[in-house]
Symmetry: C2
Subunit: 119 residues, 2 copies
DNA sequence: ACGATATTTCTAGAATTATCGAAATAATGG
DNA sequence: CCATTATTTCGATAATTCTAGAAATATCGT
């Protein structure tokens, strides 16, 4: 953890490793998946905390890492901080993994997924 | 790092996090990508070492983690240990990441990628 | 059995990460 | 301004990970 996400260039190994490492923790991965499910509406930190049931300081630590890695974005809404998955980053990461490996992989959603039900 | 890959069930968060964490290190990710590129031929540990230029003990440590996570498989060939990417695991992981997110993602290669040139 | 090659295991220090309570900061509504 | 809610920052500790040299193990050819 020593390099910020840039998005200016195609994903390099270091950036991909950074993002994979941040997703490589069960708490963070669960939080991230909740955000992916939530789509463009996102979730507040408190909502995530209620769903994951972990101490606030611990969750804050994990979310800040996801934000640092460029996988999650935050914006304040009153007293709450709303978190949203960065879908572009996700696609970039999947593309990186699939590159040189899975010729059939295509990611077609530029925007968040179809909203069926709120988390 | 406290749980072996099972493959008996659909990927769960813990297993996905384990595999993501193992890919979340630049040395391991580079080694893994070399193996993905190499396709079904794979590469020996020594060949990977020559390409990555890191001490043998360090590389051995990283490869053992990839093997432990189920991302790489090894088989002895004489004095060398041949390493191959586990493409099924890779597809499972990409599927897990894409699930609930990227409706357009499909991975179509069951077998290693088209062999164009050796690494 | 010996020597050479390939790779792992052992070991240990440095660095990073995870965890969480307590205190601090931010925003809102009286 | 005060109380309340939401979240982060601080601080401390335990645990894990990274790194790499040295020694050990495995395999082969002779």
């Amino acid at each position: 953890m020593n390099r910020k996400a840039s998005y200016l260039r195609a994903m390099d190994t270091e950036q991909a490793a950074t993002q994979l490492a941040e997703l490589g923790n069960a708490h963070r991965l669960e939080a991230y998946r909740l955000l992916v499910k939530a789509g463009e509406d996102g979730l507040s930190v408190g909502e995530i905390q209620a769903l994951l049931d972990i101490p606030g300081s611990t969750l804050s630590h994990h979310i800040s890492r996801l934000v640092w890695a460029g996988l999650v974005e935050q914006s304040r809404e009153g007293r709450s901080l709303r978190c949203r998955a960065n879908f572009a980053a996700m696609h970039g990461l999947i593309g990186f993994l699939a590159d040189e490996c899975c010729s059939g992989v295509t990611t077609t959603c530029e925007t968040p997924p179809v909203q069926t039900a709120k988390a």
